[in-house]
């Protein structure tokens, strides 16, 4: 059964169809939100919330867009809200700042990580979400630029520019890590 038909059934309140959608997308959404937020527990929580919204807002879905884009758009909105909330609540204590500094110093004094994948992950997480999310959607999730533009509610040109800048940043960070033996910040 195709996804549009599944969504039609969810719109009628069919829980079996909803279960199939959850099953099909749970790993992708958890992974996407993990890449977005960098926190697995939060990613799982927001994934649950994403699917609940898919069920309760199913009537707002219009079959002009793929189901995947719609679900990813919901997840993106939730992640953005969560990041804003976290930024507002980011009142860190002096102990936390000191602990962070110690951790960074310890890492920079350690020999650089030889694994390219680890460096890539570090570079990806150091990228601003504005660039990180389009790169993840394009290079990890395999969406087209048009689909990303729809998910993020931005013009295609903006998405192209952000993907390009994000990739350049990643390449630069990876080159720094490889040549200078410096860990990406």
């Amino acid at each position: 059964m195709d996804e549009q038909e599944l969504m039609r059934q969810v719109q009628r309140g069919d829980e079996m169809a909803f279960g199939q959608i959850v099953n099909a997308y749970k790993d992708r959404i958890v992974n996407y939100l993990y890449q977005f937020l960098g926190d697995y527990q939060k990613a799982v929580e927001l994934s649950q919330e994403t699917f609940l919204r898919v069920y309760f807002k199913a009537n707002q879905y219009r079959p002009i867009a793929p189901v995947a884009s719609w679900i990813y758009a919901i997840a993106t909105n939730l992640a953005r809200t969560e990041m804003k909330r976290a930024r507002r609540a980011s009142l860190v204590s002096l102990e936390e700042i000191a602990a962070h500094e110690v951790e960074e110093r310890a890492y920079s004094e350690d020999p650089p990580d030889p694994g390219l994948l680890k460096n890539l992950r570090q570079a990806l997480h150091s990228l601003h979400p504005r660039y990180r999310v389009p790169v993840i959607l394009k290079d990890m999730e395999g969406f087209s630029q048009e689909e990303i533009a729809e998910i993020l509610k931005k013009p295609v040109g903006t998405i192209k520019a952000r993907i390009s800048r994000g990739r350049q940043f990643l390449k630069k960070k990876l080159a720094e890590a490889r040549d200078g033996g410096k860990a990406p910040v």
Partner: protein, 133 residues
């Protein structure tokens, strides 16, 4: 660019086991909450409407009726000699201004006196005909 192709090979996290069951459990909890919220909303709407109705009725009884002028039928009823105390005269603020008088005693007392005939003419300061010289 080849490094970026590694992005696809980055370790992908997966949903924890029992994720789907948790979502379905949350779904039923949310749905129950939604039904309860809808019921509360309906009840509060009905309560607000009933409250408005009561306020309107009370206003009608205590304020609007006092301000309204009494109709002709009410005046006639209140000025009638049959208008009894049983109808709550003491609670009314209107005083009847038309009274019935009994002249029979006055006429009876004057029958012994010599009769006098009074001719009543219409007196007018205007002449009906023109004066001729």
């Amino acid at each position: 660019m080849e490094e970026l192709s590694l992005l696809k090979k980055l370790e992908r996290v997966k949903a924890p086991p029992g994720f789907e069951q948790r979502v379905m459990a949350q779904l039923s909890v949310r749905r129950r909450g939604l039904v309860r919220r809808r019921r509360v909303f309906k009840l509060s709407l009905a309560g607000a409407f009933a409250g408005l109705l009561v306020v309107f009725i009370l206003l009608n009884i205590f304020v609007l009726q006092k301000q309204a002028a009494p109709g002709a039928a009410t005046i006639a009823q209140e000025t009638s000699p049959l208008f009894g105390a049983s109808e709550g005269v003491e609670s009314r603020s209107l005083v009847p201004i038309i009274e019935t008088l009994d002249y029979s005693t006055e006429i009876r007392s004057r029958t012994e006196e010599p009769r006098a005939l009074y001719l009543l003419e219409e007196v007018s300061d205007r002449t009906l005909r023109e004066i001729k010289y």
